[in-house]
Assembly symmetry: C2
Homo-oligomer: 318 residues x 2
Amino acid sequence: MKKVLITYRLKPEGLKTLEGEYDVTLPTERSYFTKEEVLEMIPDYEVLVPNFSFYTDREIMDRAVKLELISNFGVGFNNIDVDYATKKGIVVTNIPNSTREPTAEFAFALLLAAGRRIGYYDRKLRTPEGVSWGVYAEGGMPVYGKTLGIIGMGRIGQSLARRAVASGMGIIYHNRNRLDKAIEQQYNARYVTFEELLRTADYISLNAPYTPQTHHMIAAEQLNMMKPSAVFINTARGSMVDEKALAKALKESKIWAAGLDVFENEPHILPELLELDNVVLAPHAATRTIEDRINMSIEMTQNIVGFYEGTYSVSRVN
Amino acid sequence: MKKVLITYRLKPEGLKTLEGEYDVTLPTERSYFTKEEVLEMIPDYEVLVPNFSFYTDREIMDRAVKLELISNFGVGFNNIDVDYATKKGIVVTNIPNSTREPTAEFAFALLLAAGRRIGYYDRKLRTPEGVSWGVYAEGGMPVYGKTLGIIGMGRIGQSLARRAVASGMGIIYHNRNRLDKAIEQQYNARYVTFEELLRTADYISLNAPYTPQTHHMIAAEQLNMMKPSAVFINTARGSMVDEKALAKALKESKIWAAGLDVFENEPHILPELLELDNVVLAPHAATRTIEDRINMSIEMTQNIVGFYEGTYSVSRVN
């Protein structure tokens, strides 16, 4: 029986696929295992399931003498040294299907909230000064009729585009590879250079994977290219954005607003951002509903069972 | 030259249609005229443009000896005694086109924010206690795959349905009159009784006009019929909801959350609501962007010019 080490206490409803056939270890005292605990246990395990915030590095893989599979609980896999896993012959999988719609949904929620000032109104109405109720006072930015620039037009980007089109937005996108014409036509999406996207989009959403190449891809230079009316959304990974430069751009109204679910040093948020009225902040919660977390667990377990038994398709990243 | 009295200081960009041909009076000292000021001026005017929060009652109409047209700056016209206007032979118009998409957009923004806890996260992250970043902690309610119940499936309701369908929601609706099959099919929308809607919808959006018949149509009895997981959205008029009963239902978790843009006694918000974490509050801002307010002004002026010159279609409500 293969031994599976799960670093976070996932709900049993999502782990039924493994029942009886796999020997599963979950944290019981705390909601998660520390790195030290994982280092101690890992030599006995064939499968490791890291939570997206658990960094699976060389040290862990060197101790993991039996490890065959890292079944990541997340779609982004920047928490895993995949190159090293590949060298050691360890397969790495991720969960793109169960995370697709919730993440696009949350990105669009942040987009609407940042544009139409939902977070601002809700906060300010609860303070003694309140918000003006005047016809033009403290108004938002329209979404209908505006252009959404999507950086990274993969599964999540396309699900976001579907929502945006139905909301009256036009779509431009930038991607490593241009999409098939049929997909472009589905969203009436136009492929543009990164710079054209930054210069012309009204709303900009980051939906690309984090890699060393995408580190700080949005920094002062890119923020300066954006319109003063631009709204920037990040539900991908915090390290793709120079957070200090973004806070400065927002503070100086170089761009109009931002909606952020991810940060450079989670769970730490740059204090400057916490002071700004033109940003909507969320605690890496794009897939955080009980139903979605269970669906993610199911997809994660199917990667394990599919890997060993061939009964499910497996989303391999190496 | 017809004299037009506008009760709120609307931006001149939206009033160009009237230039040269109409004698327009706007407030200059304050952003609005008081009722007393309007009562004093109104005998000289053929046209009155009330803001949606300016109540145009019998007293005003009795003084308005020359009044031919009330061109409302709003789609809802509960601020006007339309029956009395009809008796006096005064035409009343409203602006359904320019308000349609912004209102549906804002309703959907509140729906996503209330379900996915955007307001809550943004507020709590700025406090010393913050928000947990755990996998299951303080999670939201999914939107994708859920059923949206729309009460009042007119223009705004249908624009909301279009967004919801693209976001993976199923649509049920209740209306005074059942819609054409073709429209139902467009949104895959199912007509249900009011009670079935309340009992089965995951998200419920109020998009009906306020009339004496719809006063407090959502009260304790209706809230009790809703699922404990229900999310209630109101971008229509506050008086359609018993605000005290709603606050109680939210406080006792009889329903899961609410998103409110309108209130019974605007700009006053029930203090109990301001204390609740499971409500997202906005200051009657569904159409509050500069672009949308200008578009509303243009539609309002076209009602005036259309009424006198026949050059635009006129949206009459009596």
